[in-house]
Amino acid sequence: MSQPSTTLLCISFTNHALDQFLEDILKAGVDRSTVVRLGSKSSDATAGLSFDVLSKQSEVRRRKEASSLLYTQKRDLQELRDEVNSAFHKATRPGVSLTDILQYLEFEESQFWTAFQVPSHDDGFTFAGKHGKGLRSDHILANWARGQNPGQFAQVLAPESARVWAIRPAARRQHMDRWVEKIRGENMDAFRDSVGHLDQSQEAIEAIFNEAKCDYIKTMRVIGCTTTAAAKYSHLIKAAKPDIVLVEEAGEIQEAHVLTALHPETKQLILIGDHKQLRPKINNYALSVERGDGYDLNRSLFERLILQGHPVVTLRKQHRMVPEISQLVRSMTYPDLLDAKSVHDRPEIRGLTCRFTFINHSKPEADDAKIRDRRDVDPKGSKSNEYEARMVLKLVKYLGQQGYTTENIVVLTPYLGQLRLLRDKLSAENDPWLNDLDNFELIRAGVMTTAASKVNKGRIRLSTIG
């Protein structure tokens, strides 16, 4: 980062990891004015890095040439807009006029058209229609459609036209219907084409507006975003041309999301993650690795490279778990894991004999059909266990009596159903504080209202895993 001309793009799966990373690099001394965050969410510390806010505030002005370009595009757009509006009205009009039909016939079915023309008199007279006014072809067509016979023209009709007049009334109505349908189809097609042009021009204008944003992002050295934002703001990232793309939580991100963040000028790709933990979330269980059919959509690029034999460096020292707990993890999944010195001196937990305890019971769980777990591809509902929930409540109270404030306690559960149950139980004595994602899921399932989710006095944290 001591190099002034290198641009870094950092992508992660969760907002939390992204904020963590941005906070860390700011602490490391990277110039704040060159760091920006795409997307709408942020932590308190990273709120000032929002790209939307900063780009609006910046004084990036449009260049003179760009302004004239914009002017021309807007003017063209107005013309197109008028065209589209008239095409719309034409296409949605209930009826089709006789004149329209005649015009159609002139080009598409001329033998009919000829039959409806007013024959000419050699002596300069014209035929008279109703009320003594000059006869017109639309009158003639109207008469034909009504089933009348040619009357005064019968003698001067050419043979093809006579044939037209010989068509039976019922068949004439069918022809009329057919022409009306054809014309309406044409009107719709014209409408569709003009809308297509309008939308294309609209996109071109959007590109001009975006140009100022693209100019601004080129001045940034560090860009952070989640995978969703990376896809949404792909054009901004392309303009920024990051030299290095750093992907965090790479084990949880679908390969397609990583590929689409890369550009031909990217020089380095760094993937950091853990394929032994959660896989990317997908919806269609049939495509998953677990299903075993071989489609493997939820195999992250990270995992796939490791399985392919790409060189991996594994970090070995862990700084979080006390040795009793790290031993569990070491024996199951991470045989080379080492403990940092700092984990050896943690104080014992007051009131508990062991650092970890497994409790076995035989009270059955209930299915909560209303709620579905986020990562669970099983269509059946989530689960909850009344007995365990009551146990948790008692434990929280007990630890409170040992002097631990609820600030020191976090309750984790795999199931959304249990989360809700725990929330209800704990709210009698505390204010359970849920994270955004869990809130969203519970509201989506209809078991919590938006208003209720806003209550958070930060008393005790409650969350699902993952």
């Binding site: 409408f191 939308d199 689409t260 020089k267």
Partner: protein
């Protein structure tokens, strides 16, 4: 790359001429006009503003289009047109406005292909006047044609591919030309996802949205597609991994698209099946019925947006019914989830899908009686279908579907756009020379520092800060700094 005009008097005249043509006061009617115009264009101070000016004025691109066709002889092409192209060939020109202006310039030069055919002829017959320089511009132009995402240049690209097969750029003695040739070959292979005879099933033909080339597939499904009972085409991971190395990048991208789209469709199909039925586990979908088409909204002069239909809602918004306009405003402001802006839904009639669309939420319109909502659709085709349906049919409904298509759509569109797969040799385990990567000097110094520390176990100094890294952290750092693609595993707590 502006050319230097020695004579400032000439420079002034060229400037005047440029504006005369661009403003439409003069027309390009002869080869001489064309020559002067192209010379004037490449004498502009920089290529980016030149392009902007050409596109901003109606006569600008027209003059370019005419000029390049004025004289198809080798002298004119090589000494007048190619230098102009060379001027416009900088990467900054393609970068502005997401490349859209450049695309238009390219289109005006290449279609109709009068000039292009002549140029191609010169290449195949070896009639370039300055073989080295001219071949480079020609190769660059080939690359641009092949990289163009839109359908307009597809035919030209196909013709180009077969011409280059006869006389490959890779045989050139010029290294830059060979480099272009190599990239063109990769892109052509990437875009050509026709299957090999080995594959038992093939893509394409099952319904109106099933194509051999995934780039032609619309992101949103069609009615035919959703009602098709045939198993859609996508490959197992092993099939991709075993594909021929020159075809693998193309097949990989193709499969990524298909699998991701299948994931979206699975969720969409499930949500659509719940339409009209009450199923346990999910709230019943919101259905807007008794719709009446009011108007077309084409945006306004200031910013504009994609066209949308304005539709009055008869049933489905009962919650607003007994509220006054003011009450509704307040209610809608507080409850952003009611008809959330850009929520996804399907326009249908009795379980038959007409098309897909998005809500355009306008509080003013929703306060009317009956409430009016804006509906944007996925394409102009879809908009037209919706219009026809609303006008002709009775009982059309708009059903809100909770599928989070916003999470899929941008990724799918971007996959379609990609003409090159970066790091393909590392990501797909392809044999052959690795992409060369050379760390910068500053990075190399840091790498050296790390390697030295292995002996001393001292801190790593970067700028003003020092960091104490343990051995595996140092190893990871060296690895990341010196490789094009690095994979670092961090177990819990590390």
């Amino acid at each position: 790359m502006p050319s230097k005009t020695v004579d400032s008097g000439r420079a002034q005249r060229l400037d005047k001429f440029f504006w005369a043509f661009v403003n439409g006061r003069k027309e390009v009617l002869s080869a001489h006009d064309g020559q002067l115009f192209l010379e004037a264009a490449r004498s502009r101070p920089d290529a980016v503003s030149c392009l902007e000016t050409l596109v901003a004025n109606e006569a600008g691109l027209k003059s370019v289009e005419r000029s390049v066709k004025m004289d198809l002889g080798s002298r004119f092409i090589c000494s007048i047109v190619l230098p102009f192209l060379s001027f416009m060939a900088g990467p900054e020109v393609k970068a502005i406005y997401e490349g859209k202006l450049f695309q238009r310039l390219l289109k005006s030069i290449i279609t109709p292909p009068t000039f292009w055919n002549a140029l191609l002829g010169l290449y195949l017959e070896n009639y370039f006047l300055n073989p080295a320089a001219d071949a480079e511009i020609f190769a660059w132009l080939c690359l641009e044609i092949v990289s163009d995402p839109g359908p307009t240049l597809d035919a030209v690209a196909a013709g180009l591919a077969s011409a280059l097969a006869q006389s490959p750029l890779l045989r050139s003695s010029n290294a830059k030309v060979r480099e272009y040739g190599y990239r063109i070959e990769k892109i052509t292979k990437l875009k050509d996802t026709s299957t090999t005879p080995k594959e038992a099933e093939t893509p394409g033909g099952r319904h109106d949205n099933d194509f051999a080339n995934f780039r032609h597939t619309a992101v949103y499904p069609t009615t035919d597609e959703l009602s098709s009972t045939l198993k859609p085409f996508y490959r197992r991971a092993a099939e991709v991994a075993n594909a021929d190395s020159s075809l693998r990048p193309g097949i990989h991208l193709d499969n990524q698209f298909r699998l991701l789209r299948e994931d979206m469709l699975a969720e969409l199909r499930e949500d659509l099946q719940l339409v009209g039925k009450k199923k346990q586990g999910k709230r019943s979908a919101q259905v807007l019925g008794k719709l009446e088409l009011k108007d077309l909204d084409t945006g306004d002069m200031n910013r504009g947006r994609c066209s949308a239909l304005r539709v009055a809602i008869g049933t489905g918004l009962e919650v607003l019914r007994n509220q006054t306009c003011e009450q509704r405003k307040g209610f809608l402001k507080d409850n952003k989830n009611i008809l959330r802006h850009q929520s996804f839904g399907v326009l249908c009639l009795n379980n038959e899908i007409i098309c897909f669309g998005f809500v355009v939420r306008d509080i003013e319109l929703l306060c009317q009686d009956p409430p009016v909502v804006g509906l944007q659709f996925t394409s102009s085709d879809a908009l037209t279908k919706a219009t026809a349906a609303l006008v002709e049919l009775d009982g059309v409904q708009f059903v809100l579907v909770p599928t989070p298509v916003f999470a899929y759509e941008p990724v799918l569109e971007r996959l379609k756009e990609m003409s090159e797969l970066p790091f393909d040799s590392q990501l797909l385990d392809l044999p052959g020379p690795e992409n060369e990567f050379h760390p910068s000097e500053a990075t190399s110094r840091t790498i050296q520092q790390c390697l030295d520390i292995n002996a001393t176990e001292g801190p790593l100094k970067v700028g003003k800060k020092s960091y104490h890294l343990e051995q595996s952290q140092r190893k990871a750092l060296v690895y990341a700094l010196s490789s094009p693609v690095s994979v670092i595993q961090g177990p819990p707590g590390s």
